[in-house]
Chain length 218, copies 2
């Protein structure tokens, strides 16, 4: 497979790659063996041209007269995303959201293994939660090195998020997923993605407001 | 304020509106009274032109020689997003993620009130969790009508998500936030937003993989 050149690949194409993978896995669960770009696109509201264009950034897939082999394309997309191997991930924040993330079933199957959980609260450090013993932040550096962790999840209150991010970057983390409802900044060599649960609801509220306005229901 | 015409407003502008609101609230916490489009943009990695263009979709804000008044712009953006009034929201799924969402502090301050929690499991129905008594899905319709709920959050396992979405739409829900790691479909008059936690991690893994490749660390 050709090596992708990151500067040429638009972010939306990478996001859609994740959606294709979800959809392919759903087809696989229904025992589908092959699929066309039209069928893959339709299930996500995209044109077949968009699907082919997105995949073309990464190489030649599909077979004339057959389409894509579902199993094969799943492997290829996982390879592109880097999730054909398992990533060790750490979590900072063992509150409610942290506990939900510890129990979240969706990570393992997608190539992510929660390897360690940290919290700054002396009440929580040392506690057992499921398979995890909550560690103090002073052990960040050693744990990251020992377990070869490159990705971190931040699930702490807003006021602590930037400080935790700084500590994670200093300890060698290369990618961060931030759940705290606040913007944080990281150096350019670190990848950052944010999930703000209230923002997601706001977007829906906006759409529902507008469709109400349009019907004169303001 | 002019009424926005939804078909003219690009989705990314609406998403940035949420980010502006977060950032304005952060400035307010630091007792800032006024702010320029440059300062607001810089804090989010955007140009001042982008900030002005985004806000111009919704009306005339800001004051010559002063910039934006922080308090005023917060109110205006909330009004645009429809979050200057409180939205009652229901949650389906009282597992780990559901419990995290029940305890999530970020909703109330943003204009969302979790009003009811449902689960299909007979083991959970009737249980008290914090302020909530878990209700059976058979009470969806009555609760939605009585409490005037228009938004729903789905936090159930993948295999149940589409069925739950269908029931919510039938019971009158207008907007859905889906946390289940699977694509669901809804009729066109219903707004849908999806949060797939593994997708968020995949995007970061992809970026970290690429930056590793670029440094020959594959």
């Amino acid at each position: 497979m050709e090596q992708p050149r990151p500067e040429l690949i638009p972010n939306p194409a990478v996001r859609r790659l994740s959606l294709y993978l979800r959809q392919l896995e759903a087809f696989k669960r229904k025992d589908r063996r092959t699929i066309s770009s039209k069928q893959l696109g339709e299930s996500l509201g995209l044109t077949d041209a968009q699907v082919r264009k997105d995949l073309a950034y990464f190489g030649q897939f599909g077979h004339p007269g057959i389409g894509y082999r579902v199993d094969e394309l799943i492997s290829q997309v996982k390879h592109i995303l880097g999730t054909d191997k398992t990533w060790n991930v750490l979590l900072v924040g063992a509150g409610n959201l942290g506990r939900a993330l510890m129990a979240y079933q969706g990570f393992d199957a997608k190539g992510f293994r929660l390897a360690a959980v940290f919290d700054s609260s002396p009440h929580l450090v040392g506690q057992k939660q499921g398979a995890f013993t909550i560690q103090p932040l002073s052990e960040l550096h050693d744990t990251i090195q020992k377990q070869q962790i490159r990705l971190g999840i931040i699930a702490v209150p807003a006021d602590f998020a930037q400080d935790v991010a700084d500590q994670l970057v200093k300890a060698g983390i290369k990618g961060l997923l931030n759940f705290a409802p606040v913007s944080i900044t990281v150096p350019q060599h670190v990848s950052l993605n944010a999930v703000d649960l209230a923002v997601q609801l706001e977007q829906i509220a906006f759409q529902v407001s507008l469709s109400g306005l349009n019907k004169g229901m303001s």
